[in-house]
């Protein structure tokens, strides 16, 4: 079993949400106002003499540079979940320890079953080091310990944290439990008042003395002499009491949130806060080798209203830049109705999309990047104005369609043969421009319009196109001419037989 432990979670959660506090003396207090109590302190604050449980006024008098933050349950929950993500990256069987009360209320621990070690770690020591490194990557200064039982691993982690500080590891080899426990003070057992007083009365200060006292005695005798709580703790430390198996992993949904001390009414600072939030969320996913294709953005506004949006990409990605652009584009196109007080990002982890690139064909844009690009372009130009063009299955002149753009990586049509002749294309005029036309012998001889004016020097046509006769609103009937005017333009002129009007619908170019 292994235990990953963060000794001062409230302070760690604050530093994780506000990296600018790193290395500064920080105290997390229970409530706003001068009567607050210090719940958790950063290492710098502890060195300056600020202790847990002291009054805020006292803490400020001890350390003038002390930064104070009010405890945030949302941030602490996110930090705890992040710790669990680290554990799940090494073992599918991991669970958070129940939060403790009293002096160890700020402690967060996660237990994981490492009986089947990941193939990437060659030893228990390597596994412990990997766990600590992954926790650091999520801005969680943790301690890792590996031992034969859950209680012993937790005790070893707590002891290592007290002795060596965050980042240390401890491995208790099988058979080495007694040697490890013997010199430890009984305070590490975190006993209630009654058993602690009992041990003091017996003159027992080290765990070794306690183990000697209980050694060789029957369970009943130990229980009678030391009480049930102490007896159970000793049994757990010695691995004599069976521990409940760690349950199967939970779902892949993770959440990161931040609440602002002052509400934010501008997109720039909101995006700045979201950048850190998205980075933390996606790093947590990445540690579990996951990405996400959908992110839920939940905003709590200053008027109490809630703004919840689901942003999706067709391809799952763990790239924070792509997601940040997507979130920003969504907020820009539809800004929140009021200043923002709280923001949360939640995502369901899923395997990242893998693309098989072709050595001999152009790669094209990356799928995730393309998705974000299309979303931005749609926000910029309109949702029905971006896509792959389609020639509509319709005889109506100029009919076209747009389909979602997604170039397949499959075979292309092959390189076109080189030629000296190419197709003459038209530029569509949407809507068609009205024209005034004079006829000579039933054919256009002169025209005036917004694009072409003058004598018609050459004319071909007409070509009749009719359709939609079965529906009154869709009927069309045109006689089309290709007309060259003396100002050098070549246009597609048509006579609308239903409206009895001339118009230019395209320009040869």
């Amino acid at each position: 079993m292994a235990c990953l432990l963060v000794p001062d979670l409230p302070a760690v959660a604050e530093v994780r949400a506000h990296p600018e506090l790193t290395g500064l003396p920080l105290a997390v207090v229970s409530e706003p106002g001068p009567r607050a109590t210090v719940l958790s302190v950063s290492p710098a604050a502890a060195r300056a003499g600020v202790h847990r449980g002291s009054a805020l006024a006292h803490a400020r008098s001890v350390c003038a540079e002390l930064r104070v933050r009010v405890a945030s349950p949302a941030r602490e929950r996110a930090a705890r979940d992040a710790l669990l993500d680290v554990a799940l990256s090494a073992s599918p069987r991991a669970e958070l320890a129940t939060p403790r009360a009293g002096a160890r209320a700020g402690e967060a621990a996660v237990h994981l079953d490492v009986s089947s070690r990941p193939s990437t770690c060659r030893s228990e020591a390597g596994l412990a080091t990997a766990l600590v490194a992954r926790a650091w990557a999520l801005a969680l200064p943790a301690v890792a310990a590996v031992a034969g039982s859950r209680a012993l691993a937790a005790l070893a982690a707590r002891c290592t944290a007290a002795r060596e500080g965050p980042g240390a590891t401890c491995v208790i080899a099988p058979g080495g439990e007694s040697a490890f426990l013997a010199p430890l003070a009984v305070d590490f057992l975190d006993l209630d008042d009654a058993p602690a007083e009992l041990l003091t009365r017996f003159g027992i200060h080290r765990l070794g003395q306690l183990l000697d006292l209980a050694g060789g005695s029957s369970w009943r005798r130990v229980t009678t002499r030391l009480g049930l709580e102490l007896a159970e703790q000793l049994a757990r430390l010695r691995g004599e009491e069976g521990e409940l198996p760690i349950p199967a992993p939970r779902s892949g949904r993770i959440e990161e949130s931040i609440d602002f001390e002052a509400s934010i009414d501008n997109l720039e600072p909101l995006t700045f806060a979201l950048r850190g939030l998205a980075a933390r969320l996606l790093t947590r996913l990445a540690i579990r080798h996951l990405a996400c294709s959908e992110i839920e953005v939940a905003l709590v506004l200053s008027d109490g209203a809630r703004d919840r949006r689901r942003l999706a990409l067709a391809a799952a990605t763990g790239d924070p830049h792509v997601w940040l652009r997507r979130i920003r584009q969504a907020l820009e196109s539809e800004p929140p109705a009021a200043p923002v007080e709280f923001v949360a990002l939640a995502a369901e982890g899923c395997p990242a999309r893998r693309d098989q690139l072709d050595l001999f064909r152009p790669a094209g844009p990356a799928p995730a990047e393309l998705d974000a690009l299309l979303a931005e372009l749609e926000a910029l130009c309109g949702p029905d104005r971006v896509g792959a063009p389609r020639v509509a299955d319709d005889h109506r002149p100029g009919a076209f369609g747009l389909t979602p753009f997604g170039p397949s990586p499959g075979a292309s049509a092959g390189e076109a043969p080189r030629a000296s002749v190419a197709a003459l294309s038209v530029r569509a005029l949407r809507p068609a421009l009205p024209a005034v036309v004079r006829l000579r012998a039933g054919r256009p001889a002169w025209l005036r319009s917004a694009v072409a004016n003058g004598e018609v020097v050459r004319c071909a046509g007409p070509w009749r196109t009719t359709g939609g006769w079965w529906s009154e609103g869709q009927r069309f009937a045109f006689d089309a001419f290709d007309v060259a005017t003396d100002d050098g333009l070549l246009v597609r002129l048509r006579y609308d037989r239903l409206r009895h009007a001339w118009e230019i619908d395209a320009l040869y170019d």
């Binding site: 152009p362 094209g364 990047e369 393309l370 974000a372 910029l380 130009c381 309109g382 104005r385 971006v386 896509g387 792959a388 063009p389 389609r390 020639v391 005889h395 076209f400 369609g401 753009f405 397949s408 292309s412 049509a413 076109a416 080189r418 030629a419 000296s420 002749v421 190419a422 197709a423 003459l424 294309s425 038209v426 530029r427 569509a428 036309v437 004079r438 006829l439 012998a441 039933g442 054919r443 050459r458 071909a460 046509g461 007409p462 070509w463 009749r464 196109t465 006689d479 089309a480 060259a484 050098g488 333009l489 070549l490 006579y495 037989r497 009895h500 009007a501 001339w502 040869y508 170019d509």
Partner: protein, 265 residues
């Protein structure tokens, strides 16, 4: 002192060290290596080109439009500007590349593009409502990378002074970073000195068949106006041929008048 040092560098293995009268190793290897070194240097300097598929135009441009640079196609209406850009897009998409068409004029015709040989699945059409959105879209497309060609259709834009010079500088830099050929389509020159290549098209002759009356095509001249990466003069003739569009049934001549003559004035 310089001459002896050069001599020493030029002949590191003096003849005295080669036994049995063999030539020095450098004399054997250098003639083999030097052309390779020159070839490698030449390849790294030449920009990759995106061919149009039109033999005379590609020859004129030295292989096609340069990737990673901003180019311009100018000319009056009905000169074949759009046809040249579509030919370029057709060649790129047929080679498996992905292209984009930023349409600030809303004049792109999918049927024409298909007739020109464009693989429509590989063409992203953006119908920008205004020029401002088209420019922003172009910058974003270049940032995304992976597009071989981005055509910015500004034929409806009036004058070059409507654009800030910094706009083109930014787009040129983005094109260089992404390796995309950015082609601006306009009536007059808009980009100025930021364009690596400018070609101007002029219609020379319209080709109409007489019996029956039928528009066959257009003869145009592609003139090289500016070419920072090669010879900057020359022209090439190009023939544009009208593809067989679905025209419906030929109507009786004079039938337009049969509609009541309301169109006549």
């Amino acid at each position: 002192m310089v001459a002896p040092r050069r001599k020493a560098l030029g002949d590191p293995l003096p003849r005295a060290s080669t036994p049995l009268g063999h030539p020095p190793i450098s004399a054997v290897i250098n003639p083999l290596i030097n052309p390779l070194i020159k070839l490698g240097g030449g390849l790294s300097e030449a920009p990759a080109r995106l061919a149009t598929g039109l033999e005379p135009v590609d020859r004129l441009l030295g292989g096609g439009f340069p990737r990673g640079h901003l180019s311009e196609i100018t000319g009056p209406a009905s000169s074949g500007r759009t046809s040249l850009a579509l030919a370029l897009s057709a060649a790129a998409t047929r080679a498996g590349e992905v292209t984009a068409w930023l349409d600030a004029a809303d004049a792109f015709d999918p049927a024409s593009a298909q007739a020109a040989g464009v693989d429509l699945d590989r063409l992203l059409w953006i119908r920008a409502p205004r020029v401002r959105e088209a420019l922003r879209g172009a910058e974003r497309l270049l940032t995304a990378r992976g597009f071989a060609l981005v055509v910015l259709d500004l034929c409806a834009s009036e004058a070059s002074n409507a654009f800030l010079p910094s706009t083109w500088m930014r787009l040129a830099r983005a094109a260089a970073a992404s390796g995309t050929a950015l082609v601006v389509l306009g009536r007059d020159r808009l980009v100025g000195s930021h364009a690596a290549l400018v070609v101007d098209l002029r219609a020379i002759r319209l080709r109409f068949a007489t019996s029956p009356a039928w528009l066959e095509g257009l003869e145009a001249r592609v003139a090289l106006v500016r070419h920072r990466l090669g010879p900057s003069e020359g022209f090439a003739p190009v023939h544009w041929k009208v593809p067989p569009f679905a025209r419906g049934v030929p109507a009786r001549a004079g039938s337009a008048r049969g509609g009541g003559g309301a169109g006549a004035s």
